[in-house]
């Protein structure tokens, strides 16, 4: 107590000066790396509000740019939709004339990837939609460009998706051009092999593969990959067909779960699109 009284009452000035100088010398004697690290930490703490404001304004600029691009896309899609509407009506009319059965197109549930499996040979990920949102085991999962995998486990608000780059997944595929059917199996990375293609079958480099819908595991018509290698193996009766996946399966962030089919006659999606477009045009006036 006497020491404290001596230091902080009688010689407060000198004590504070000594403490501050000792602190400065302590900072000076640390290694250069730890000096830089601590300076970086303090700077980032002090500049955090500035960074946040800067980030906010940068994101505004990005959003504005993205919004402009999306408007351009929306305009072209609107025109495309008008054209498709005519085709749709014509298709329905022709199918009725031919007395063909009713078919459907797909309904999607958008989801985000919330975690990835760390296993090198069992590639799977978890998405933020589950049973409560109508997700069921076995549903196909697609990305913007094509098939990504299928749901293997469902929890109330999340689901586990097994990706195509698994040894245990095989996909029945069809060549979009020649309609040749084969079984797609994973080799490594984003590379696959199309098996059971006879030597006389018509498969060319650059052909697009779609899901065939056979076996009813994956719905028909989703792009899966592009043929990048067709080689004849003398020892084998089949062609050696290499396929590059449409999706980069290593960097998936947003996916769509195919939750079911919708009748071609249903106008829900078009009504939704028209509502968005009319809202946009009102805003633009």
């Amino acid at each position: 107590m006497q020491i404290l009284s001596f230091l902080f009452e009688k010689h407060l000035e000198k004590t504070v000066l000594a403490v501050v100088m000792a602190l400065s010398v302590f900072m000076l004697t640390r290694s250069e790396e730890s000096q830089l690290n601590s300076a970086r930490a303090v700077s980032s703490f002090l500049l955090y509000p500035v960074d946040k404001v800067e980030e906010y304004f940068n994101s505004l600029e990005e959003l504005r740019e993205e919004n402009r691009e999306l408007r351009e896309i929306a305009v072209s899609l609107y025109q495309e939709q008008e054209r498709m509407n005519q085709f749709r009506s014509e298709r329905i009319r022709l199918r009725r004339l031919l007395e063909m059965r009713e078919d459907s197109f797909f309904e999607f549930n958008a989801c985000e990837v919330i975690s990835r499996s760390s296993n090198r040979f069992h590639h799977s990920l978890t998405v933020d939609k589950g049973g409560a949102e109508g997700i069921r085991v076995g549903m196909a999962v697609v990305g913007y460009r094509g098939l990504a995998g299928r749901v293997t486990q469902v929890f109330p608000h999340s689901s586990r998706v097994m990706l195509l780059n698994n040894k245990s997944i095989s996909v029945s595929c069809q060549d979009k051009r020649s309609r040749v059917i084969g079984i797609l199996n994973w080799e490594r990375g984003n590379l696959f092999r199309l098996d059971f293609i006879g030597r006389e079958e018509d498969v060319l480099v650059g052909d697009t593969l779609l899901t065939s819908g056979l076996g009813r595991i994956f719905p028909q018509g989703f792009p899966v990959g592009t043929v990048f290698r067709v080689a004849e193996d003398r020892a084998e009766l089949s062609l050696n067909v290499g396929v590059l996946s449409m999706m980069d399966l290593g960097i998936l962030e947003e996916l769509f779960i195919v939750t079911g089919g919708r009748d071609w006659d249903s106008d829900a999606v078009f009504e939704q699109l028209e509502a968005i477009m009319s809202k946009d045009s009102i805003r633009g006036m």
Partner: protein, 165 residues
């Protein structure tokens, strides 16, 4: 409110020190704006507050160049102490003595900084001291007196009791 004003002033001066000061350098000598701010802030303060203000300003300056983290903090806390202990109460309030005060503060600051940055090599210290420090100190005095004059022209409510901002 005073604290916020001081903080804003410190940040503005720090940014000026990093961005503008090297552009107005004459013969390699440039004014030390942080030192002028320190003199303005601690002139009529008690030594404890002066040491802490000096340490914080020096540390802020060190963050701009972290290879000698603590060097300016040490120098400025020592200078702050000296100004508060021997400056404000003993020196008359006129331009010449304020100039002498800033000049002395610059030299003390530079002596500490040069010793640390040259690892206490007397030859390097003396060379740099006579080559740059004296001119820098004179330059700082000129800029400092201008700033002190400007502060005296401010309305009284923006100037603290005793003249410091």
């Amino acid at each position: 409110m005073y604290f916020v004003r001081t903080l804003i002033a410190a940040c503005v001066v720090f940014v000026l020190q990093l961005t503008v000061v090297h552009r107005i350098a004459v013969g390699g000598a440039s004014p030390d704006m942080m030192l002028i701010l320190l003199v303005v802030l601690v002139l009529d303060r008690k030594p404890v507050a002066a040491v802490i203000i000096g340490f914080l300003l020096g540390y802020l300056q060190d963050l701009g160049n972290a290879s000698f983290l603590g060097m300016n903090a040490l120098a400025k806390s020592l200078v702050g102490y000296c100004i508060a202990r021997f400056g404000g109460d003993y020196l008359p309030d006129n331009v010449i003595f304020r100039g002498v005060l800033i000049f002395s503060a610059c030299l003390i600051n530079d002596l500490v900084v040069l010793n640390i940055s040259s690892s206490f090599n007397p030859f390097d210290v003396l060379t740099s001291f006579f080559r740059y420090s004296l001119i820098s100190a004179l330059y700082t005095v000129v800029v400092g007196i201008l700033i002190l004059k400007l502060l005296h022209l401010l309305p009284r409510r923006m100037v603290r009791q005793g003249g410091s901002y």
